[in-house]
């Protein structure tokens, strides 16, 4: 295989967002070193400014429809990639804003924190563009390195160190599975690019290879049975990192999963539907049931996250264009609701130094705004109309109904009922129980921005989802050829709002 690398100016344009971010994170790191007396908050706002520039660049790509491939198809820019990059950059901006207060708790390397977050974001942006198995491996590891450090960032905190170490060991283990899987697939087909792999026959080596790759990606998204790192890591990590970890890498991993299943494995759909249905059912059920027993809000959200991933896998199991749309839309709703919920956890944690659910007793008396926002986020996660989560679940279930996955939907509906319980337990504690310490709580301006953004997104997507639906439908146009009745009807008209 010859490898020629010729880059023209037009090719470089495709890399513009990544290059901008690379330059910018170097600027942030340099400023941190060069100006030791600069308040670290400034670095946060500087990072956000840079990310805003990248976001503007991506929006331009999306509107102008700029696309193409680079490096012998290793790197692709299409509307799907741009969607996920916007998702990742948006998440990163909100996470950085939510970190400003928390970073004051760190005793060392406050400035490097922002640098590492930006690095991880850069890695995930590359993941969204990964178009062959090699770039999948490289970008996945690239983005995860930043997280290994971030999870263990609380150096004095045993839980944080333990979380970082566990994440690292299991992550390396998953990377091993991934590398092994890639080597098997390459050995069987001699190809690496997703669109080339589409093999006519399923040899055992190919099956094992893809299953191992799925296991590694399953680790990344935290699907059962590859979820075991999630609770401990989420619990021990600094809360903003947990928030980041629970959203952005999931989006990036789904970008790869969608490409792998919808492009490379489209021909074997009957074979992998069972795999995804199984993973989805296990994730939803396990996540929701174990969440009931949690006493720590971060662990609760960790298990709830596992269950939410199970919901998103429903869309993947549908394996149609509409399933793809639904995944993208669901991720958007999940971004706003989950990040919003974590923002409340961060804010409350900063103020009362506790993440125990008991300490949310009477939150409504102490801060009606925080309690109300948390209520909205939890109800959206539970899928209560007219909030975003309801439309997301509806969309994904509709996609599955079109494919006749009735068992999966039945399990999903039962799980919604179970999840309602633990979400409402938190609501009950906030609204009905008496607070032990009735002193009022106030939150800082950057935190308010994050909570307002979460509320706005959750309400907007729930009440007027049509613009977002149009966007995700456009982002997955390349899958219009996929079988299924949904492909014939590219737009979903929801009964609400749209």
């Amino acid at each position: 295989m010859t490898f020629t690398l010729t880059l023209s100016g037009a090719d470089l344009l495709l890399l513009l967002p990544e290059m901008l971010l690379t330059v910018w994170l170097c600027v942030v790191l340099t400023m941190d070193f060069a100006m030791p007396r600069l308040p670290k908050d400034r670095l946060a706002y500087l990072s956000v400014a840079g990310l805003a520039g990248v976001l503007a660049n991506l929006v331009w790509f999306d509107l102008a429809g700029i696309g193409g491939t680079l490096f012998a198809h290793m790197f692709v820019v299409d509307r799907l990639a741009v969607f996920f990059k916007i998702f990742i950059v948006g998440t990163t901006i909100l996470v950085i804003l939510a970190s400003v207060d928390y970073v004051r708790r760190f005793r060392f390397f406050k400035g490097e924190y922002y640098f590492l977050v930006l690095m991880s974001a850069l890695g995930m942006m590359f993941m969204a563009s990964a178009n062959d198995l090699l770039s999948v491996f490289i970008t996945l590891e690239f983005s995860t390195f930043g997280f290994y450090v971030l999870v263990a960032y609380l150096r004095d905190d045993v839980a944080s160190n333990e979380a970082g170490l566990k994440f690292f060991i299991l992550g390396v283990f998953a990377a091993g599975l991934l590398a092994y899987g890639i080597s098997l697939v390459y050995g069987e087909t001699g190809k690496l690019v997703f669109s080339d792999i589409a093999s006519p026959s399923a040899t055992p080596g190919l099956v094992i290879g893809f299953l191992l790759i799925f296991a590694a990606l399953g680790f990344k998204i935290g699907a059962v049975p590859f979820h075991s790192w999630i609770p401990d890591t989420y619990h021990g990590a600094p809360t903003p990192v947990t928030a980041f970890l629970s959203i952005a890498p999931k989006g990036a991993a789904f970008a790869i999963l969608i490409r792998m299943f919808f492009v490379s494995l489209a021909a074997f759909k009957p074979a992998w539907v069972l795999l995804l249905v199984g993973a989805s059912i296990l994730s939803m059920t396990y996540g929701n049931i174990v969440a009931i027993a949690q006493r720590n809000i971060k662990r609760l959200l960790a298990y709830s996250g596992i269950a939410q991933i199970g919901n998103i896998l429903i869309g993947l199991a549908a394996g149609t264009k509409m399933g793809g749309d639904a995944i993208l839309f669901y991720l958007l709703t999940y971004l706003f609701a989950n990040l919003g919920a974590f923002a409340i956890v961060i804010a409350v944690g900063n103020l009362i130094r506790s993440d125990e659910i008991e300490d949310y007793n009477g939150l409504n008396r102490r801060s009606p705004f925080l309690a109300f926002a948390m209520l909205v986020f939890l109800l959206s996660l539970a899928g209560v109309p007219p909030l975003a989560g309801f439309i997301g679940k509806l969309y994904i279930f509709l996609a599955a109904i079109d494919e006749g996955l009735y068992t999966l939907i039945a399990v999903g509906l039962i799980n919604i009922v179970i999840s309602m319980y633990y979400y409402l337990v938190v609501v009950k504690k906030m609204y009905i129980n008496e607070p032990t310490d009735p002193s009022p709580l106030t939150i800082s301006p950057p935190m308010k921005v994050v909570v307002y953004a979460g509320l706005a997104g959750t309400l907007f997507l729930g009440i007027y989802p049509q613009p977002a639906i149009n966007w995700v439908v456009a982002a997955t146009l390349m899958f219009s050829n996929l079988a299924g009745p949904a492909a014939a009807a590219p737009t979903l008209v929801l009964p609400i709002g749209g």
């Binding site: 060991i169 049975p225 590859f226 795999l275 049931i289 174990v290 027993a293 319980y421």
Partner: protein, 633 residues
């Protein structure tokens, strides 16, 4: 357009008051009163057009189409509709005006006007219905308004109970009504009046085996069954025995409501319905006999109970029950024209009596017990004189409206065969009772010594002009309505089972008129004798006829019987179901599932050991299981 506006104006008033009542508050009448009065003017116009003999159907829109079923919402106007429109809009308009004074300063002022506007709309739609479903929908709608208005003072427990009772008892009747409508759909394949009436004769021979589900045989004429089921609805709505129990309790509502809904309009809907369905009833002699006998029993029962009640409004309410029975008897004997005639005159004088009661009640600061009244005729002259006119009309005093309509029914009844003669005899007895209790009311309330609470006795005065003007207008109508040639006007649209109605040419007419007038006078004289000349007499009579007195005073123990036979067993059954089925089985199952899931949650939590090697093992095992499944399948 004009036709459509008649119901739409009150609806618009309701919507405005319902949505903006919060801001409109004390100015609510400025919205509702003009709307209803304009409806009245339009009704006059419609009356004039329809009087020429033409029937008008105005389709509004197709409500729903499902297979063969096609329901149009349309307005139907014939002479019967026209007179009902006038009755509803006149009484409603006067009650609207009266309410301005009666409800002045009440908290729910705008809400009250909103509901009576809604009621007026529903009642107008009911009388204008041209198909059974529309009839049923607005039949329910007036029931809902009645419920809302009886419970207007919802902070009172008694008002809430009365509202609930009215609703539930009516539901019993409406259940039958709905079954009747369904049976019509099954038998005729249409719900439109004109189709049903046109095909009704073809159905005469057909029967239905009621016991077929359990293998028995009980053939019943389909038409009779339809008529009886529809009549069940009328029994509920028009407070006929045995579903009459809600009407007296409904007096917990504000008095204008008693006048409008529970005397003049809604409760007469049952009578109106039977008359409207005359083409069906005429084909089923059995159903008509049931209607006639039920009406007669109600008439006698109501009159006997009215004799002994102390609450001024309840006397009038029981009188309403009795008079509704009288009208129902007329319809059952085929005298639809006479029944509707009496319905109209009764609407005028009974509304007058209720509004008069309201005037007394307001003057006495919400005192309703007759024993704490007396001697009011000098203090409340307008109320007194109008009340006397209303009572005379009710008693059938010669040359009042009630005299003519009552006489019409008696003559027709007498000429309707053996059953008719028997029932007419009961009716004559009732005439005496009616005259007696209505003048008992007059004498005890307005004559004799004042027994008024001294606290209020000093400043007794006539209520405001908005309340007295409607009284005077209604008193005027209570006299002149009898001279309108309503029977001749209605006769063409309401043919009886024996062809067109017969009227005064009947040989018995003159004699019956004289007998009824004399019996009415006898009743009045007896009341004078008992309550004016010898004040100790009522108590002595009550002691002497203790058993009869108690029976009447306790309303024949019907409420108690229902309580024992229906209410308590239901409550006990509900209680059992709650403790055994709900708490033990359903809650047990639900909580059991919840506990099981929580238990699994705790168990699976143990898997999260915190040991990294366990986690890695778990992942490996997971991968191995998946691989095995895929490679072996």
């Amino acid at each position: 357009m004009l036709y459509t506006l008649i119901p739409l104006l009150p609806l618009a008033a309701f919507l405005i008051l319902g949505l903006f009542g919060h801001w409109i508050k004390d100015r609510a009448h400025l919205v509702a009163v003009p709307a209803v009065l304009t409806s009245f003017l339009f009704s006059l116009f419609v009356f004039d057009e329809v009087a020429g003999g033409k029937n008008v159907t105005i389709p509004l829109y197709t409500w729903l189409t499902s297979g063969d079923l096609r329901i149009e919402l349309s307005l139907y106007f014939d002479r019967l509709t026209a007179v009902m429109l006038l009755l509803v809009t006149i009484v409603s308009g006067l009650v609207h005006v009266y309410t301005i004074g009666y409800m002045h300063g009440e908290r729910g002022y705008a809400r009250f006007f909103a509901y009576i506007a809604l009621f007026t709309f529903s009642m107008l739609m009911l009388v204008m219905a041209d198909n059974f479903l529309q009839l049923f929908v607005f039949w329910e709608a007036v029931g809902l308004c009645s419920y809302l208005l009886i419970g207007h003072w919802y902070e009172r427990q008694t008002a809430r109970d009365a509202a609930t009772k009215a609703f539930i008892v009516n539901r019993v009747g409406d259940f039958g009504f709905l079954l009747g409508v369904l049976l019509i759909w099954l038998s005729f394949g249409s719900l439109e009046y004109r189709h049903v009436f046109a095909q009704a004769a073809d159905l005469t021979g057909e029967t239905l085996n009621l016991l077929s589900p359990i293998g028995g045989t009980w053939e019943v004429s389909t038409l009779t069954l339809i008529c009886l089921l529809l009549f069940l609805g009328a029994v509920g709505k028009s407070a006929q025995v045995p579903l009459h129990v809600w009407l007296p309790d409904a007096m917990e509502g504000p008095t204008p409501i008693s006048a409008l809904i529970h005397a003049a309009t809604m409760v007469t809907a049952g009578v109106f319905m039977v008359a409207r369905m005359a083409p069906l009833y005429n084909l089923s002699a059995a159903a008509m006999d049931v209607v006639a006998v039920t009406g007669t029993v109600t008439m006698v029962l109501g009159a006997t109970i009215a004799l002994t009640q102390h609450d001024i409004k309840r006397v009038v309410a029981w009188s309403t029950v009795s008079q509704l029975g009288f009208m129902m008897m007329a319809c059952g004997l085929g005298a639809y024209v006479a029944g509707i005639f009496h319905l109209l005159t009764h609407g005028a004088f009974k509304a007058l009596l209720f509004l008069g009661c309201g005037s007394v009640i307001i003057a006495l600061h919400h005192e309703q017990d007759m024993r704490k009244m007396g001697g009011l005729k000098d203090k409340l002259p307008v109320t007194y004189w109008t009340f006397v006119i209303g009572s005379l009309a009710l008693a059938g005093f010669p040359f009042t409206a009630g005299f003519f309509s009552k006489d019409e029914i008696l003559v027709e009844a007498w000429s309707a065969g053996a059953l008719g003669k028997t029932l007419a005899t009961f009716a004559l007895v009732t005439v005496v009772l009616t005259a007696f209790y209505s003048f008992r009311l007059v004498f005890v309330t307005f004559w004799g010594e004042s027994r008024v609470d001294p606290q209020h006795a000093g400043h007794l005065h006539e209520p405001s002009r908005t309340m007295t003007v409607p009284l005077v207008i209604l008193a005027f109508l209570s006299i002149v309505a009898g001279y309108a040639a309503i029977p001749d006007f209605l006769a063409p649209v309401l043919p009886g089972p024996r062809g067109l109605a017969i009227h005064h040419e009947h040989p018995a007419a003159g004699g019956m008129m004289a007998i009824a007038a004399v019996l009415g006078l006898v009743g009045i004289a007896a009341a004078y004798l008992v309550y004016v000349t010898s004040p100790g007499l009522p108590d002595r009579l009550a002691r002497q006829w203790q058993r009869a007195y108690r029976l009447s005073f306790n309303k024949w123990y019907v409420d108690e019987a229902y309580d024992r036979a229906v209410v308590r067993p239901t409550v006990r059954l509900a209680d059992r179901l709650w403790t055994w089925v709900d708490v033990a089985v359903i809650d047990g199952a639900v909580n059991g599932v919840a506990r099981t899931i929580a238990w699994w949650g705790w168990l699976m939590r143990l898997v999260q050991s915190g040991q990294t090697q366990h986690y890695a093992l778990g992942m490996t095992l997971g991968a191995v299981v998946i691989l095995t499944v895929y490679l072996l399948l």
